[in-house]
Symmetry: C5
Subunit: 353 residues, 5 copies
């Protein structure tokens, strides 16, 4: 999160609409993938320049242009010109610290989405995915090359399901759906880790348990911060009266909306679980202090009187009658034993051990 945020400040002072890619460079060169399809036709090709883009509108084709990697500023300027995108939209596509949102520009709808994934050693990371829904085209821009839309490509190619029969709005729905479904996987991974942590908590809580609890909590907060605006964006899509979205498709957005709420619910449940675990951790630590103090008290309470008795008979007074007694020594040992047993009995009654 930090690197992105820091780079943001470099843009300070530039005019709004200036195109600068803010974010890490995951790939060297943007990869452009173009899919054209209609109910009867399908073509997928990788193109090296947007100039190769051709698209015959009269054939009722849908064009889906997918770009992986946001480094090629020139490319985005060309795309902006070709599809008539507002400069601020281009700016938002390149600045990868946007919140999920939906903006209706009339001729097209602009969507910002977040894709979360687990990065080894760095915890939860997020990519920005921008989707533009036009009359008969869909543009998708990914910060990083990713296989998240793989199954959709396959489904179009193999003509599975309704996707070839429906328009650009249904394709957009499919893209969002695959991103939302990915949250379930992220949450599942998180759940497994939380369960491991829960076991540790019971068996052997350490300071690192605490760190983990806070790390997971922060990841959940990060997820939550992205989910609430996502919910709003999908809700806006659902309630939108844009002619780009067919009435029969609205119910599918409603379906995604329900999924989003289920995800938010799960995130909240996990937060509650972590809060409970924090309480248990703190209470366990405090119980251990109790236990330690109890051992100290028991030992001290038993041995202090004994040591005192031994001290008394270690005094060098000339006239100490007990010292002369035949069974004085054993008597003293006996007294000590009785004192010790009384103490033990007292602690047993107090249930201290």
């Amino acid at each position: 999160m930090r690197s992105k945020f820091q780079k943001r400040s470099k843009k300070t002072g530039l005019a709004p609409g200036s195109l600068v890619h803010i974010g890490s460079k995951y790939v060297e060169k943007s990869k452009i993938n173009l899919i054209r399809y209609s109910e009867t036709f399908f073509e997928e090709k990788e193109i090296s320049s947007i100039k190769d883009f051709c698209f015959e509108n009269d054939k009722k084709e849908i064009a889906w242009l997918n770009v992986d990697g946001l480094q090629d500023i020139k490319l985005f300027e060309d795309i902006g010109e070709l599809f008539g995108l507002h400069p601020l939209v281009l700016e938002d596509i390149l600045n990868t610290d946007q919140r999920p949102k939906m903006e209706d520009y009339g001729a097209y709808i602009y969507l910002v989405l977040k894709n979360f994934y687990e990065q080894e050693g760095e915890g939860l990371q997020s990519d920005q995915i921008s989707v533009i829904l036009g009359k008969d085209f869909v543009l998708s821009f990914l910060e990083r090359e990713s296989k998240i839309f793989g199954s959709i490509k396959e489904k179009i190619g193999k003509s599975k399901g309704r996707i070839r029969k429906e328009g650009a709005d249904y394709l957009t729905h499919a893209l969002i759906d695959s991103i939302v479904d990915n949250y379930f996987i992220v949450l599942e991974n998180l759940e497994e880790k939380i369960e491991v942590l829960e076991d540790d908590l019971v068996k052997k809580p350490t300071q690192s348990t605490l760190h983990d609890i806070h790390m997971f909590k922060r990841e959940l907060i990060m997820l939550g911060k992205s989910l609430w605006p996502l919910r709003e964006a999908i809700n806006s899509l659902e309630r939108s009266d844009s002619p780009l979205i067919n009435k029969s498709i609205v119910v599918y957005f409603k379906d995604i909306y329900d999924h989003t709420i289920a995800i938010i619910d799960t995130v909240e449940t996990f937060k509650d679980m972590l809060s409970g675990m924090l309480d248990i951790y703190l209470s366990t630590v405090s119980n251990r202090l109790n236990e330690v103090t109890k051992v100290l008290t028991v030992i001290a309470t038993i041995f202090m009187p004994l040591t005192f008795i031994a001290g008394v008979y270690g005094m060098n007074f000339r006239y100490m009658p007990e010292l002369e007694w035949r069974w004085g020594y054993f008597g003293a040992l006996g007294v000590m034993l009785v004192v010790a047993l009384l103490m033990v009995f007292y602690f047993k009654k107090k249930k201290w051990f």
Copy 2:
């Protein structure tokens, strides 16, 4: 909760509307029960296939089709076709991790409800119950075979109450009502357990008390998460202007709505009780630490000076006049006694024991 959630991710990548049962298989085969009734007519039968379904609309009959178990995908496809259900509705019926909701599809109203029950050794569990209200039919789908609708069947059969005189909307109300009433039983069980816990808390709080408090809290959160959308769903029914719901029935939905609020109130009260119990637990633990430390302090404070005095007269200096005194030993013992009594007096004044 976990098993359901995990299976969900298996659906990732499928097209929306794909029918896959997500949830545990409680029964081997779906059981289909069909009740047809009008004010004068009643028939109940178990049918093995939806093809056996026949239903004479012209006789002003109400048909209630109840399905226990969600394994038989084919069956649901048939039902969907017969009653003209939207694919997403079928999908939601089978995915048992829905939140309670009400969706008006014009020709029918789709309801998702949750039925909670106590599972030995696993705590509170929930089943999904889907209800579809059509013009003259009601469909209900249960995740598990359950006797929750038993009394309603009986009432229809024995023609008790208004149920035979009213339409499908009243039957739907009766189904929801019996589910909501079941919450009262769940809460009552929970209350008894919380009271047992409260007794334990006062008598002998242990680490397991803390675990129980958190477990009950989590169950209440789980209940609450289902109750808020349930409230919304019933509110939507009440305010719905669907022709499927007769105006005279609305007041009954309002009644259930009030019950839901009463249940939510009780859940909130229980949460407050558990929070208070947590405070008392923590304070009890801390008081015990205090007590232990006090015993240690009293013992140490009494015996340390005594041991010191004994130590002094255990020194081997050649010239120690007291050692030669006739009553030196008893004098020393006397001084020790005085010191001890002073200490005891001091602690009594401080009210330490």
Copy 3:
């Protein structure tokens, strides 16, 4: 609270509108009191059966029927028939676990209110009071015989104030007003107890102080849970456009509304006070642990070095020059004194005692 809640579950399975009294049986038989009055006429009588009810509408009389005790199911069926009440209203009158609410049934307005009182040894208890406002009659149903409406009866009888000149709406307002005023008395009692508790907290906080804080907190939560819906109910009355409520009376409901808000404010203030007291209690307990530990530390720190010195000169080495010195013993005592004084000085500087 518990008994009511538990009895609720017994109703599970009954059809809605089934009349069963849910609540404790405070009185053996329902007591029916009928007051008829107009500006010039007044009559009060106790009637044994609702059949004795007669009421001449053409004389511009107002009839106020007050029933104490909810055991007599038959009576309520008769009343329901006579005044044309909806079965669900009768059900709500008898089930005494309703939240305060206002329901406009067109021909009459149904109000549920709660009356709180202090029960010796059981803390705060609540009774349900139902009020039905009709065109020229008011029905009030009390769970228990109570003197809460005594002053209103007297005022009508002695023709004090505006009450004889106004209609059923003003009478309803007077009934609600006396219930709301009763909250002030309940809060005053609570305030006195909280002040006693506050004194205890400063003088001698014990574990029972904590229990009391939590008990009062729970009572306040219980009050608050009843107050918010009460506020809503009165607000609904105030904003109602029912012809049963005269425009000139609305300002009186607004007045009660203000009182309700003042009561809610006071409840919130009390909650804040109790939270502050909880903080002070916990801090006092922790301070006491500090004090105890300090005494232990001071005693141990003073006597350990002294005992060590005594131990050194208690060793039996053959060649220990100090032992032979003439003033060795007194010198050793002197060293001990110096060490002890240094320690005391150190602790004084640290302000430990």
Copy 4:
């Protein structure tokens, strides 16, 4: 606060609109001050009875009647009659436990405001100030004689600012403005005290610091409880479409509204500061316990082994070779020194002192 609240309950049972002064009697007799002014005319006089009130409406005069002290019930009845005030308004003027509010009665607007001041030894106190804005008159009722409106009287008298040129609405604005400005003074005093407390907290936190934190917190809650309804009341004034308020004056109410929000912000900031101070206090107390325990541990850990060694050579076994050695004693002392130094070294490494 208490005395007012308790007196409230004495009113229970009276009819609404019954005039009883609820609050402390600050002055023996109500003091009536009448100011009449127009752009060219000014007169101020103290009148002993409302019968002396005369006011020539045709001269475009504004009359401002200010009453200090609420004991003289008769006076208020006369005022109510003269200006046609609703009985409930009179009741609210006299009951000084109202929340700030604004009520539009058509012919006049009724405002309840709260004036806070610091009372030696009793903390923050509040007075109720009622203001009634009529077409060409303003009535103000103060619970106590106060100089809060002194500068306004002076400004009218000396014809400073716009006040003589504007109507009763501007005068009302000036009255509210001086009350709101007074909050800034109250907050400034509070800020100074909080800063003193903050110093104490760092230098020498005691149990009384905790009591002060809670006292200030309670005062802030008390302020806040009055500020939120005040904000609402001023907002109602601003948005009111009453003909009594000239459109050109609305912007001045908006200005006061902004001040109120600034005050609320400051109160919230102070609350946050106090919460932070509470955290620091608790942490300081806990740190001190740590320090005390550390001293104990260091002393015990150093002297226990030493005392043990001394104890060993104080044993009276016949055959203990070390005792006979020439340098045995000094050797033992040396060993003790080494052990002590090791301990000190260990603690230094652990940074315990």
Copy 5:
């Protein structure tokens, strides 16, 4: 913050609209900078008096008047007269304790903004920046001389970007944008400090860590208090239907609005991080107490029994058979060793060290 707040109270008693500068005097004399530009024309000059202001409206020029420093009351009276500003606007410009807000006065829009910066040794400070947007002019008033608008001046001068082609509304947008961008820099600095603190927390938490956490928290609260109204103000601009704002510019305000929300999100994230750090700090302190107590317990538990044994054989009874044994001494030492090892073994098993 304090100085401003305290000076506020000095204004108490003045009529609203009285011009007094409230705030610190950063500069000796107000500095007036006038920029006039159109698509083809550009002029920048410093003027010493507002009388030098000239501005030819017919040439489609935009005039931007920037004033640094708010001491010169006369100047503001002149500006108020020249541009027809409401007295309350002038008052708000000079009182630098305003919250961000947007007020539409018809002929012009008045904006209050806050610029935050880090002051060495005093933490986060804020300046007030007022912006007035008229038909063809923009006025900006800075509390302090600042370079925050430097890049905008440069852009206008060098005719970079759209700024010379657009009107006063676009200039206003650029001003707000540069202020909002500055928040990113402030947050970046804060983030670095929080990261340093986080390192300290892990390595060596001290009481000053706690103070820093609370200081940063307070700074974040201060930022947050300014951000929420800023968000509202920008939202009002965006939704405003003022003719001063061109429809094509609205999308730019929407863009700033998104930035504001991103900033608020970051502030919330930082608050969560600090809360987590506070938890970890407290838990670390408590863990250290645990550790210290454990060392004490281990040492006492090992040496108390040993010292007791030594004490027993230091007793002076005449008949103590062990003392005469040949290997008695070594036997006793052996027993001590065994006891010590048992203790060590016990603690190892308990994982205490």
